[in-house]
Symmetry: C2
Subunit: 464 residues, 2 copies
């Protein structure tokens, strides 16, 4: 038997892989990159930012780099990945059954991926499970299942299409008896600045489970699906949840489900054009049906973080907000006990990468003579106001502390815990990582006991 | 204030960063790569393998690529990573305390890394927590903490040195008030083929926790460590476990703790020379004290997977092993109930990448007329025998099934669940992923009910 490594399947791959023919040469990277940079400058200006401000001056460069990296799948070929990783592997020798290179399910579970939502351009997380049934006495290197899935994840996507494309590509590349793909997708559901104060039970994430099957897996009721789910069930996937979405629940991306705003916000057409040009630079067709409304949706969302919006609203709110101090919270002010408000949610936008970060804020403070405790809703509002702008976590932490300090007489501690999309959706891909920052004012900076006591009262993170 | 992005700290960085001066130009990659390939061929020949066998014919190329990628830290500079990611960030404005760019702890938790053990060359996993206290009104982009840690992880390492180097490099690059690094490291502890049958309680993993601190963190008892541990404690790290290792517990790598074997196994000097040349090609000094014995240790370990070893031992064992069938296991053989043996551990070596994979095997079988049940120890031995060789998981699964089939009359199902080091220690870095393969013979291939019943009885994975 000839070696499968070099070329035996090359012709099949070349003939079979129509799906992955987009090819942007590396030499174009510079040109596309600078087109994206120019577009990002338009967006920053539209947000009312000074594009020469330190901190965001190089944001266009960083965004272009991150977007190119995050959509590198447009420039990758499945053929290049699978070629050289098909290995001859004997099946059973004169016995009834399935094993090795002829039957016998092979599964890779719990592959962490991220993708960009084609509807709103925010990254979404994917937990991917891939399986196939070998055929023709050949198997593929296990890591290739993950690598091929990543090629299609690194594009503007929608969960069901992603599953279908991974399934189709693997089927044509490996020529197995069948391929199964199951994806658990999680989309951040940012509230918008209008509604965040009204909806305290805002669900921060939208989750969906999709699947695709070819060959033996084409029939959703085939026995081999039972085997597949038996072998992934340990990881918390139950078969009952698997279904092709009906037309009634097409609303996976929150930007598509958003109710029409009561007031029509005028959208800056230059920003919309800029986003369309970014999409084109990445290798996508901005006129594709599913993408046509994306620039508009993205800009509408981005305007939540408009600079002037923020200052105007903060001033208006604080004037009204002081009255909402919680008068019912009777305390012995001589006691100097720490007032705490834990797990206040926040949503923000990283000014270095124009990508969201979100999490919770924990606040502790002492009451000085002549001051009163602050109501939870005012604290939550302060957190939202400093969240809804282009930010960095360190500054957010400091600003919240500085805002609260004069309201209670100076002794305050603020801890911010966050997940940064920019930590997973670029080359770094540190999925489980999280950040924590702390600001301490007054007694909290000098009194270790009181600080430690507050910190030890913070529960395990509830955000994901 | 001038922009910190370009150049303000360049001089400091260049003067400060003596640690990271190794630099192998890209043009040398080809030469080094082919030196590694030649060395890998020597190792494969020493294992008694046919280096032209399909499946391993391109293993030298794959190993060279994976090793170069896995040790790319030798060719990376901290300066290149941090430069352009130092941002001006105000501290507190006329208030007592610490926040923003002047004080106020910043932590990134749960960064998944892997590194190569300098003592045995096997990869080890690292859960990394990094923090620093900003100073001089500047902060560093959060992702850089992870990136800098990765530069030093991607080398031949030892946990304490890794912590020290990350700490030192960040301190010099950021110039903060202090840096804290805490690493939870996990090393695979492969049993050797001599002892695996004797020690059924073999611990498959060695774990250690190390820390390093600079500036404010230099004193292990400083208050700021209390803050640090309060902010990572949610993730299951308790401060009590943090200690610098004493000289008495230097034995982190199992290869160094191994008791002298009762019989002295002669080591092939050509293989030892080959490993030394690989280490040199990667950019390490093979004469460095800690590394001098590494080629010897690696070859000694690798010889567990010698081809001839395996066949000889299997024949000898099976002749003796048939007698060890479990005679006490009284069963009604007309009942056709499924005999199961779950969670049999296995250890193996991926023939595509010369990297370990390990996990558990689940076996189910029916007894045909005239056959008896098989004792657990024989099943475990069969699993070990097929594990201790250069393997692929699909073949391992099939071979175990084919070996058992004639012993019980033909009806057998084998499921193998594994973690593949090669899935995490190359560019893929899919830390949480695991694989599952299945072989079904006889009635298990045709009777869905009996197969599903067995699969549903498999518990959640106990291996990590």
């Amino acid at each position: 038997m000839g070696c499968l490594d070099d070329g035996r399947f090359t012709v099949e791959l070349e003939n079979g892989m129509k799906i992955d023919c987009s090819e942007v040469g590396l030499e174009e990277q510079g040109k596309d990159g600078s087109a994206i940079e120019d577009a990002v400058k338009v967006l920053l200006l539209g947000l009312g930012e000074d594009i020469n401000r330190e901190g965001i001056r190089r944001t266009p460069l960083r965004v272009a780099k991150a977007l190119r990296e995050g959509t590198r799948g447009y420039r990758q070929k499945v053929k290049d990945i699978v070629q050289g990783a098909l290995f001859p592997e004997a099946g059973l020798d004169n016995r009834v059954g399935h094993a090795g290179g002829a039957g016998g399910l092979v599964i890779v579970r719990d592959i962490d991926l991220f993708s960009y939502c084609e509807s709103c351009m925010l990254p979404f997380q994917v937990k991917c499970h891939v399986g196939y049934v070998p055929s023709g006495e050949r198997v593929v290197g296990l890591s290739k299942l993950s690598r091929v899935a990543d090629v299609f994840a690194k594009r503007l996507q929608e969960p069901q299409r992603l599953a279908n494309e991974v399934c189709f590509a693997l089927h044509h590349a490996i020529k197995p008896a069948g391929v199964a793909v199951v994806l658990q997708c999680t989309h951040i559901h940012f509230p918008d600045i209008e509604s965040v104060f009204l909806d305290s039970n805002h669900q921060g994430l939208v989750k969906i489970l999709v699947s695709a099957g070819s060959g033996d897996f084409e029939n959703k009721n085939a026995d081999v699906w039972t085997d597949f789910f038996s072998l992934v069930k340990f990881r918390g996937i139950s078969m009952e949840k698997i279904h092709r979405r009906e037309s009634s629940d097409l609303c996976w991306c929150p930007s598509q489900c958003a109710k029409a705003s009561s007031k029509v916000v005028p959208i800056n057409p230059a920003m919309v054009t800029a986003v369309a040009s970014i999409i084109k630079s990445l290798g996508e067709d901005p006129l594709r049906k599913e993408i046509r409304g994306t620039p508009n949706r993205f800009v509408r969302w981005l305007m939540n973080f408009q600079n002037s919006n923020f200052d105007m609203k903060l001033n208006g709110f604080l004037n009204a907000g002081i009255d909402s101090l919680n008068e019912n919270n009777e305390v012995d002010l001589n006691d100097k006990k720490t007032f705490t408000e834990l797990n206040l949610t926040f949503w923000s936008q990283c000014e270095h990468h124009l990508l969201p970060f979100h999490g919770v804020v924990h606040i502790g403070y002492l009451i000085s003579d002549g001051y009163k405790p602050i109501g939870k809703s005012l604290l939550q509002s302060i957190v939202h106001f400093y969240g809804f702008k282009l930010q960095v976590q360190e500054r957010l932490t400091r600003q919240i502390a500085e805002m609260i300090s004069p309201l209670i007489g100076g002794d305050v501690i603020v801890v911010v815990e966050a997940s940064h999309t920019c930590m997973i959706s670029r080359g770094i891909e540190k999925f489980g990582s999280s950040t924590a920052t702390i600001a301490v004012l007054g007694r909290f900076s000098t009194d270790l006991t009181i600080r430690a006591s507050f910190l030890q009262g913070i529960p395990s993170p509830t955000f994901t």
